[in-house]
């Protein structure tokens, strides 16, 4: 910190180049070390995915690179073995895509309602949106559970999708985004004779597209990794999502560590690919909520 400031004061560029270098190296080394530590668990599990599960049970998760015990057996088992991994994988994929698509559409619509109109009760309703963001979902687990039971939605994906379909954080973000769109567009649409819904569908939605990417990724991440609630409402193994399925492998009476480790590692891969491809949107999506504090 100190160095940074001293350097900032020196406007002479020649001096700056010379003085920069140690600082650059220092920062670079510091962050390389930090990233090294952060990436160790990934390296450890990647390594473990090539070892027999028994090795893991006996020595724990470690960084020993020992070719004599490593093989592609786990991967062979993952892709050809008799297990439900890819059923879960597909379920997760399906649920994520459906949940994200529905949540975005519904939340964007609601956000538009909040941003484009003045109506009675608007402020009260918007306070409700903010309030939901503050109530820990966990305390609703039990009443929601009995509700889902009474609605006869147990063991269905609807039970997972419906409660979050008008996501408060997503509504909030879309509303912020829409407040940057000039109201003249709406007025112009009305002059042209478009209906209220036509304006939304034909004029506003296309403009909102960039913000959809960020929210799709944020919601997609949450959905892909969602555990507790789906775990409570799903009981049919064929409907399990990946986190639930992986959790069921964690039992001393199944000898499933081979599949568990390689499966855990493999579950990170699709997110990793998406992340590398859409890095910018990920980061925008994550920071979207914080910008306005």
């Amino acid at each position: 910190m100190k160095k940074e400031a001293t350097l900032k004061m020196n406007e002479g560029s020649a001096m700056r180049v010379r003085k920069d270098i140690p600082l650059k190296i220092l920062l670079f080394v510091l962050f390389t070390l930090l990233c090294g530590i952060i990436l160790v668990p990934f390296y450890a599990i990647a390594l473990a995915s090539f070892k027999p599960g028994e090795e893991l049970i006996r020595y724990g998760l470690n960084l020993k690179f020992d070719l004599s015990v490593m093989s592609f057996d786990n991967y062979a088992y993952l892709f050809t073995g008799d297990h439900s991994y890819f059923v879960w994988f597909f379920n997760s994929l399906l649920l994520t895509v459906v949940q994200v698509a529905l949540t975005l559409i519904v939340s964007a619509t609601v956000a538009y309602g909040f941003s484009a109109y003045e109506f009675k009760g608007k402020n009260f309703l918007f306070i409700c949106v903010l309030l939901i963001m503050m109530v820990p979902f966990e305390i609703l687990l039990l009443p929601l559970y009995t509700l889902i039971f009474n609605l006869k939605l147990m063991n269905t994906y609807s039970a997972i999708i419906l409660p979050g379909i008008a996501s408060a954080a997503t509504i909030f973000f879309f509303r912020q985004y829409l407040s940057g769109i000039p109201k003249e567009i709406i007025a112009a649409g009305r002059v042209d004779g478009a209906s209220e819904y036509g304006i939304y569908l034909r004029l506003i939605l296309p403009i909102m597209k960039p913000s959809f990417a960020a929210m799709a990724i944020l919601n997609g991440m949450n959905s892909w990794n969602n555990f507790l609630w789906p775990f409570m409402v799903l009981s049919d193994e064929r409907k399990y999502t990946l986190p639930i399925g992986l959790k069921t492998l964690l039992t001393p009476y199944g000898n499933n560590y081979d599949l568990l480790i390689v499966g855990s590692f493999f579950s990170i891969v699709p997110i990793f690919i998406l992340f590398v491809a859409f890095q910018k949107y990920f980061i925008d999506g994550m920071t979207a909520g914080a910008v306005k504090g």
Partner: protein, 297 residues
């Protein structure tokens, strides 16, 4: 006629926000209300409820395991606040520095753990913190001649594992929050301060920290909730809701134990209400305080 009504400018906004109203009423207001009602009842699924007044709450006060759970959640929350606010703030300032090489790469790498599910991350950390001398952390400690530690059997060491997991997963995310906050601070401020001869520390104190306040408050608010409502991390680290001497039991863990494992729904609902009140109170105080400071600035 109906179409004219639905298409009028007066009615359209309600149509737009209708999904929210429905979800809010069905999945929030109703469950919250029934949670409140349940907390005054003795109740199991599929059985008749019995009105017991405040009994659940008075029982909670004398329930040593519940108090232990509250303690654990509170300590966990405090520790995450102490680690996951100053550290990411500092790192964000460093990474934002114009002398930084490979900024995007580091940003992404640090963020990456947030993409793993708690189930996977928790399993990895449970195995890393295993008590065998060959497990990752113990073999690392072994390099310095330190005897293997039974991490998950001790209160302090168990919390080290929990906090390591939390830090690992959330450090990068919080850095991103602070980075986006830093972006909104104009460079002129620093230049003006430099001309006035301010030191780096002074600039950090007088410019960076105050202007990052909205971000800090946001991070603080979500961290308080996340900390108090933590459960799955503990569930995965101990591979179950029964940690030795309940060192990893949290409020939500106790809610789960009473509600799901023992099916004392009324009692569990009371636990939930206590959590809600706790979270609301802490955040209201926090927001009030930060609001006060704002005026003084």
């Amino acid at each position: 006629m109906i179409k004219r009504f639905l298409y009028s400018q007066k009615v359209a906004p309600y149509v737009f926000v209708l999904p929210f109203i429905l979800v809010f009423l069905i999945f929030w207001v109703y469950p919250l209300g029934s949670s409140f009602t349940m907390s005054f009842q003795k109740l199991s699924l599929g059985q008749e409820a019995e009105w017991v007044g405040l009994e659940n709450y008075t029982k909670l006060l004398g329930d040593t395991i519940f108090l232990k759970a509250v303690m654990n959640s509170a300590v966990y929350m405090l520790c995450t606040l102490l680690i996951l606010i100053p550290l990411p703030m500092l790192l964000a300032v460093l990474i934002n520095n114009k002398f930084m090489w490979g900024r995007e790469f580091f940003k992404s790498s640090l963020f990456f753990p947030a993409l793993t599910s708690v189930v996977v991350a928790g399993t990895i950390f449970r195995l890393m913190f295993g008590e065998m001398d060959g497990s990752l952390i113990n073999s690392f400690l072994g390099l310095f001649g330190i005897e293997p530690v039974k991490f998950l059997k001790g209160q302090v060491t168990g919390f080290i594992a929990l906090l390591a997991l939390a830090t690992w997963r959330w450090l990068g995310v919080n850095i991103l929050y602070f980075l986006s906050g830093l972006k909104s601070i104009p460079d002129d401020y620093y230049e003006a301060a430099s001309i006035d001869g301010a030191s780096a520390w002074q600039k950090f104190r007088m410019i960076t920290m105050p202007l990052l306040k909205p971000t800090t408050i946001y991070v603080l608010t979500i961290s308080i909730y996340a900390g108090l409502a933590m459960f799955i991390e503990s569930l995965m680290i101990w591979n179950g809701n029964n940690s030795p001497k309940n060192i990893g039991l949290t409020i939500v863990g106790y809610l789960y134990r009473q509600g799901i494992e023992k099916s004392n729904l009324g009692y569990a609902a009371a636990v939930g209400i206590v959590l809600l009140v706790l979270a609301m109170t802490i955040n209201m105080i926090q927001l009030a305080f930060s609001g006060l400071f704002k005026k003084e600035d």
